[in-house]
């Protein structure tokens, strides 16, 4: 089981900030395809991937990153700190 986390408008569109997924995805990109198939809300939230960033086990990564040993994958819009 992989822990999923969503933040900001991604969390609002999906309707939850945290859920689990039973996945065989080998990369972040493959995982996104599986998440999009979960519901219409998920598909809508992930419709524009240029507006989404990902972190694997709390490290910012590219979408082609392998999920080997990953426990937690987070998705969120570009950060606006400061």
């Amino acid at each position: 089981m992989l822990e999923l986390r969503y933040f900001a408008w991604l969390r609002e569109r999906i309707g939850t900030g945290q859920e689990q997924i039973d996945t065989k995805a080998e990369t972040v990109a493959e995982l996104i395809e599986e998440i999009k198939a979960l519901s219409e809300a998920h598909a809508f939230a992930f419709s524009d991937l240029t507006a989404i960033r990902a972190a694997v086990d709390q490290e910012l990564v590219e979408f082609d990153t392998p999920l080997t040993q990953a426990r937690e994958v987070a998705f969120f819009p570009p950060m606006t700190g400061g």
Binding site: F7, A8, Q58, L60, F76, P77, M79, T80, G81, G82
Partner: protein, 147 residues
């Protein structure tokens, strides 16, 4: 190094004094504080700041460590708030200490540039009429290229 992520407000004068008192062997201390700006129409009710507990602390620590190594800083401090804030409230503060001022200034700018687009915070502006997530600016991403 001191990294703090908190919902409570803070006293920037007291933080700067306490940072300066801890520093050894520096000839320059630079601090920057960011405040909640009102929106263009001037009717900001509040700003909500969301963050990713755990990753936030890791990201800020990595950014501060990078600055300390790169400019041989005597010390660095980052404080960033989350939760509900109002116009004029302090959001965040960075302090850097170095032997000379050029390094302290450069490191403070580097910390600001990086924590704007590499630390997992998201701002939402709530006015009487709307609630909008603040969009990341391409200038903020471009600002990283100079380092």
């Amino acid at each position: 190094m001191d990294i703090r992520v908190q919902s409570e407000s803070f006293d920037m004068g007291a933080e700067l004094n306490s940072f300066t008192a801890r520093v050894e062997g520096a000839g320059a201390v630079v601090s920057f504080s960011g405040l909640v700006r009102d929106v263009a129409q001037g009717d900001l009710d509040r700003m909500q700041i969301e963050h990713y507990p755990g990753m936030t602390e890791k990201a800020l620590t990595a950014i501060a460590q990078d600055a300390i190594t790169r400019w041989s800083l005597a010390d660095a401090f980052i404080l960033h708030r989350f939760g509900d804030l109002r116009a004029g409230d302090p959001i965040m503060m960075v302090c850097t200490a170095a032997r000379h001022r050029a390094d302290a200034f450069a490191a403070a700018e580097f910390l600001m540039d990086y924590l704007k687009s590499r630390a997992p915070f998201w701002k939402k502006e709530i006015t009487g009429q709307s609630a909008e997530w603040v969009e990341a600016k391409s200038e903020d991403e471009d600002a990283l290229k100079r380092w």
